[in-house]
Amino acid sequence: MSVRSGITAEGLKKRYGRLEALSECTFEAAPGSIVALVGPNGAGKTTALKLLVGLLAPTAGDAWICGHHVQREPLEAKRVLGFLPDQPFLYEALTISETLSFIGSMYGLDRRTLRERGNALLRMVDLAERLHSRVSELSYGMKSRLSIVTALLHEPRALIMDEPFFGLDPKTLRLMRQVMRERAAAGTAILLSTHQLSVVEDLADRVIILSRGRIVTVDSVDGLRRAHGAGSLEDIFVRLTDVS
């Protein structure tokens, strides 16, 4: 790991008392690539993501975002990082316009940049006509799309997403994939955690399979098929994570 220009985890470990949630995980999402983190429930995916975004402190190991150490340079790392949690936090009382103004202010965007980027992103996710609607009036899918906008507003160089496809209709799902491809093509490093293996097959350049806090394997989808036999990613996943 010499460059650390994307999303980098080096020996990341997290222990809660006697429970080892994550055991010395080392992986990277290079700029311009989409890396999927998959694993059974309780494998440690969300823990790994929280360590990378600085919500948790690691027991051991380091996390880097575009060359900035997450613990030692938190503000610099967060400036270039966009995070989409599994349950996005939005202020129900604010309108979409006010939400974007608030987020833009937090990231130091000037008014003109905010307006241009905000309008472009809202058009992309088909929310431009709801600019003055309150967040409380939006459906679940609309809130998910708004969350994407808030994560991309400051044009992050690294994007981490926790279960971004959960509960989305096919149109929004397609939109999400399109956004991710475009961002990756523009050089953003993307790390996402998901259970939707069909989407991973279509989208991810590399797949990290996590089980019981340990990395089982890291490879491209084609590489996994070559190494573990032909079949769907789901078959390979079940085979590799089956502990019975």
Partner: protein, 539 residues
């Protein structure tokens, strides 16, 4: 600021809620002013020691305010800064620890201080009016003296919270135990005052003063910012302007220093503390065993019993509900049990019945407030599982019935118990006592019916927490209806007593019957409407 403005905008769009808030605040402010004016004038008119005692009482008053604010800020800062989901969201953004601490400290200070300012302003106005000073001085007292005092206390409290989380976070004090201790302390205080009164045959307020005065030295310590404010206050009303300005400057300077200390501590400690607190609590205990044994018991079989058992479990596992109820009703019980010893009692039955009516009204108001806060939002919180009840035969009726049974039974037991203690201590005539017992049970059921029924009739399926439901226009409306109903009950009680005094049985029958009809309407109509709504709700 944006979020606060958005909140105010939403309030403006809810005229009922706004009206209720304005009325309540006006009443509170006016009541505080009248009470303070009466007390301050009484003391000021005592020849010799009155004005001296009055100026010294400010030290004690502000000392108590300072203590209350410190405790309030501890809880407010913990929930606003440490536990709030918003804090997690801000931790993901390039927001420095200092900025996060400043914003959250200001927010938590507003939550913990608004009531203090609400108490301070009418008391200041009353004080100035009694002394014949201009009213604008109250604004100076609150802004120039009160604000820095609040800032110092809230900042020091927040620092204390950081110290606790840093060094003593393993010591977990359960919230409900704090309320139990408060209750025990309150009961102990009432009992002590009662015992002292019995021994010395003096009024409770005099005994309290005798005990407090020697201990005022602590409250008058010049190390305390509350003492600086009290000294500045005394200086300004007695024409010592220079001294007042000096103490004002001292308050503001100290506030500035404490803010900077908080800033620096936050810069170093806040993020690691928040990360530590974000870690999930890993508890390996198997909680299922107790529930399985619980379910095996005979009375948990059957749909109604299952719904009742479920509500009992939820109540037992929600310390907020039963601990607050225990605190308020416990303090009321302690007060009623000692009421005959706390003051001069008139032998006139009308006076005693009047006190009993006030006690009854107070108990009903507490019950009503708790019902609105905890019972009213329950059906909204269960709306996501409503489909389950609607699929089960008679499921919705059992859901509502279980809540009525549980909270109705608990309310009747509490109300009847408190009324009995009050009537016994006051020596209320037997006839009135029986009337109170009957009316008490009926009104308890009506209040519970109102809360449960309105909870179903005005269900809010999209609400994410009970506070959202209670703070809505519907919550305000239910509270208004509750207060109006309690007023009607008290009015009926007064009419009944009048009828008994004047030997007018028709008046007694009329007032009782009218109350019965109103109670049935208030209690059961919402239940019927609620059932109808729950059955026809399109989820």
């Amino acid at each position: 600021m944006r979020i606060a403005l958005a909140g105010l905008r939403m309030l403006g769009g809810a005229p009922v809620k706004l009206a209720v808030l304005l009325v309540m605040w006006t009443g509170l402010f006016g009541g505080m002013y009248a009470l303070a004016h009466h007390g301050i004038r009484f003391l000021n008119e005592q020849a010799g020691f009155g004005p001296f005692l009055l100026s010294r009482l400010w030290y004690l008053f502000l000392f108590v305010i300072m203590l209350m604010l410190a405790i309030s800020q501890l809880a407010s800062a913990f929930s606003t800064l440490v536990r709030a989901q918003e804090t997690r969201a801000w931790m993901l953004m390039p927001v420095s620890a200092r900025d996060l601490c400043r914003v959250k400290w200001m927010e938590s200070s507003v939550y913990s201080s608004w009531a203090v300012l609400g108490v301070l302003l009418p008391v200041c106005l009353a004080y100035l009016h009694v002394l014949g000073k201009p009213a604008w001085l109250a604004a100076w007292m609150v802004l120039a003296l009160g604000l820095p005092l609040l800032s110092i206390v809230t900042a020091v409290s927040t620092l204390a919270l950081f110290l606790w989380l840093r060094f003593a976070s393993r010591i977990v004090v359960r919230k409900e135990m704090i309320l139990v201790w408060l209750l025990v302390a309150g009961i102990g205080l009432f009992w002590l005052l009662g015992e002292q009164q019995a021994q010395q045959q003096e009024d409770a307020w005099f005994l309290a003063m005798q005990a407090l005065l020697p201990r005022m030295r602590l409250a008058m310590s010049m190390w305390l910012p509350s003492s600086w404010m009290a000294t500045a206050l005394d200086a300004i009303v007695n024409g010592r302007e220079r001294e007042a300005i000096l103490y004002t400057a001292l308050l503001w300077t100290t506030a500035g220093v404490v803010w900077r200390v908080l800033d620096h501590v936050a810069a170093g400690w806040l993020m690691p503390l928040l990360r530590r607190h974000a870690e999930p609590v890993v508890d390996g205990r198997d909680r299922g065993i107790k529930f399985r044994k619980f379910r095996e018991r005979w009375w948990s079989q059957g749909a109604f019993r299952a719904a009742l058992a479920k509500d009992l479990l939820l109540l037992a596992r929600d310390p907020m509900q039963w601990s607050q109820a225990a605190l308020f009703f416990g303090l009321l019980g302690a007060y009623f049990a000692n009421i005959h010893r706390l003051g001069s009692f008139s032998g006139d039955p009308s006076w005693r019945v009047g006190i009993a009516a006030l006690n009854f009204a107070c108990t009903l108001l507490v019950l009503g407030a708790l019902a609105v806060r905890f019972v009213f939002p329950q059906l909204s919180m269960e709306s996501r599982s409503l489909w389950l009840y609607r699929l089960a035969p008679g499921g919705v009726r059992r859901l509502v019935g279980a809540k009525l049974a549980l909270y109705g039974a608990a309310s009747i037991i509490i109300i009847e118990g408190l009324l009995y203690i009050s009537a016994l201590r006051l020596g209320i005539p037997e006839g009135i006592r029986m009337w109170l017992a009957g009316v008490g049970g009926m009104t308890a059921l009506s209040i519970v019916g109102l809360a449960v029924g309105m909870g179903g009739w005005r269900i809010q399926p999209r609400a994410e927490n009970s506070a959202q439901v209670v703070s809505s226009s519907d919550g305000a409306m239910v509270l208004v209806i509750m207060i109006a109903y309690v007023s009607a009950v008290v009015f009926a009680m007064v009419l009944t007593w009048q009828g008994i005094q004047d030997r007018l049985p028709d008046l007694v029958i009329f007032s009782t019957t009218a109350l019965l009809l109103v109670s049935v309407f208030v209690g059961w109509m919402p239940v019927l409407r609620g059932l109808h709504t729950l059955h026809s709700l399109e989820s």
